[in-house]
């Protein structure tokens, strides 16, 4: 079989007494779009932080293209092509939208010169449909635009794996539809996407495969359809009412 692009092997993370991640193991295959769901506090964001080196895993191995990157620094993760977005978006406020993305291209995307970087930046701005706002200061974008900017920045780093931590939280339906389309197009470029989301609508429409975290443990990993029917998942995450709503949607 083909070598997975990212593989976690018995990864754990403690905060003092509290264990945010316990012996988590799974792997992502090149080009896959996988959903990561789980109740609040399950450890989803922590998981991302551990993979990108923002937090140091307490134990376990993290393999990127079968290289152990468990001790890498965030900037190394970025250069390797492990990009992520933040649950709370983090732009360079005083810089223009273009400059924000240029930074991604220049340092993460390995652009040779400022010039190339700007071209790459324009490209990914166009891709996410922000090119119109290129010269606006990032600070006074509305939330939806800021989330797109975050995406454009990650894209400019031409990542191999892209981890999206609730890029859709706070967007309204029409905006979400836009985002969905965008993420699909990203995936079509062959980028492996791990998408963390509470909006099942989003998760289900994007990913064939779901991972479910609960109290820091991976309680399920499999095809979406099965997962949403899984008793433990309903119990731990979806809740009976929502599960019911899903069912009638699938039938109706």
């Amino acid at each position: 079989m083909i070598e997975p692009i990212l593989r976690l092997d018995g990864v754990s993370k403690q905060f003092g007494g509290l264990s945010a991640l316990t012996d988590v193991s799974f792997s992502l295959n090149e080009g896959e779009v996988v959903g990561l769901i789980g109740p609040n506090g399950a450890g989803k964001t922590t998981l991302v932080n551990v993979v990108t080196g923002n937090l140091r895993r307490s134990s376990g191995r993290i393999l990127f293209r079968s290289e152990d990157v468990g001790l890498q620094k965030p900037y190394q993760a970025a250069r390797r092509g492990l990009a992520r977005t933040f649950q709370i978006v983090q732009p360079f406020p005083a810089m223009t939208v273009l400059e924000n993305v240029t930074a991604g291209a220049l340092f993460g995307g390995g652009a040779g010169s400022l010039g190339d970087a700007r071209d790459m930046a324009m490209e990914s701005l166009a891709f996410v449909g922000l090119d119109a706002l290129a010269d606006r200061p990032a600070a006074n974008l509305a939330l939806a635009a800021r989330k797109r900017l975050e995406l454009a920045k990650s894209l400019a780093m031409n990542p191999r794996v892209l981890m999206l931590d609730e890029v859709n939280a706070g967007l309204n339906s029409s905006e979400i539809d836009g985002a969905l389309d965008l993420i699909r197009r990203i995936a079509d470029r062959g980028v492996t996407v791990l998408i963390i989301e509470h909006l099942m609508k989003v998760v289900l429409s994007l990913s064939k495969r779901l991972l479910v975290l609960h109290h820091g443990q991976l309680i399920a990993d499999g095809p979406s359809a099965e997962i949403v029917a899984d008793e433990r998942v309903i119990e731990a995450y979806l809740g009976a009412k929502f599960a019911a709503r899903l069912k009638e949607l699938n039938h109706g």
């Binding site: 965030p74 250069r79 992520r84 933040f86 360079f92 400059e99 930074a103 991604g104 995307g109 400022l114």
Partner: protein, 316 residues
């Protein structure tokens, strides 16, 4: 977008004004010009770490003082002056790089305090290491057997050279990916790391740059006065003065710090000549007014805007 022309023009003009003082003014004016150039270089150096990177560094006096001492010690061991200055520069740069590796992990107020502590610590170490530094005795340097006018002119040009060097370095950094990276760090360090900037390395680079020219200036200053001692070589007041100068001109811009230095030194001279008893207080008032009414520095004034050139790095 932005043309460098007004910038260069202003820069050349400024340097020329200083360089020509010996032609028409007496020695004291020339001395003042040299002091302007010196502080200009110090402020411009500070700009790398304080202006571009946004790290509130107060280490200037430490680098200046160390430069002075390294240079002095070398000269006393018979090393020719120029070489001594070079050595001072390199040694202090290395010191800054090492130190940076340690204290640049700190942020905001902690970094500020740490960088101030460095000044105090250097003073204490230098003064208790008598065998090498003469401790509280200070050190005498070989006096230069030149007539005062010539001597003064010489050091004016030396200080101007250092200033010019620091300015060129600034322009270069500003246009390079280093400058861009530093500005990203300034804006949001975590996000900077996220886009693949090796923040540690970049910060150390900035800190080292901010130390080098201070060291050269310090060494030159030592040769100039011919006598240095710990208390006068490591002054917190000097450290803060330099920061104020940079703010006064406009931190993070190319010419701002140097401009601020000139303005500050001249003001100081003025108050000093006219209100001996209160000059310190008046400077205090100037600082307060600056903070309130000119937070962006002189270069945020309409007239001077065009010199502001360096907006967020490399954005062209």
């Amino acid at each position: 977008m932005r043309s460098g022309f007004p910038l260069y023009a202003a820069m050349i003009a400024g340097l020329l004004v200083l360089a020509t003082t010996p032609l028409y003014a007496d020695n004291y004016v020339v001395r003042t010009a040299a002091i302007v150039a010196m502080y200009g270089a110090l402020a411009t150096s500070w700009n790398f770490i304080g202006g571009f990177t946004g790290y509130p560094s107060f280490s200037t006096a430490a680098f200046f003082g160390l430069g002075a001492y390294v240079g002095a010690i070398c000269q006393r061991h018979g090393i020719p002056m120029g070489l001594a200055w070079a050595i001072a520069t390199v040694v202090v740069a290395a010191f800054a790089a090492l130190l940076g590796g340690i204290i640049l992990r700190l942020r905001g107020h902690y970094f500020a305090i740490g960088s101030i502590a460095v000044v105090e610590l250097c003073r204490l170490v230098i003064s208790s290491w008598s065998s090498l530094t003469g401790g509280g005795d200070g050190l005498n340097l070989p006096l230069m057997p030149w007539p005062p006018e010539q001597l003064m002119r010489f050091f004016l040009f030396v200080m101007l050279a250092i200033l010019l060097a620091s300015l060129i370095a600034t322009i270069f950094v500003d246009r390079s990916r280093l400058g861009f990276g530093l500005r990203c760090i300034h804006q949001n360090e975590d996000a900077a790391a996220m886009v693949g900037i090796n923040t540690t390395a970049y910060k150390i680079a900035a800190y080292t740059l901010s130390a080098m020219f201070c060291a050269t200036a310090g060494a030159a200053y030592a040769s100039w006065t011919g006598y240095i001692d710990p208390t006068d070589s490591f002054q917190i007041v000097m450290t803060v003065k330099v920061v104020v100068m940079a703010l006064l001109g406009g931190a993070g811009t190319i010419l701002g710090p140097a401009l601020g230095a000139a303005a500050f030194v001249l003001l100081e001279e003025l108050f000093w000549a006219n209100f001996l008893d209160w000059n310190r207080a008046i400077l205090g008032v100037v600082i307060v007014l600056l903070i309130f009414f000119l937070p962006g520095g002189l270069l945020s004034l309409g007239v001077l805007r065009r010199l502001r050139a360096a907006k967020v790095g490399g954005g062209k």
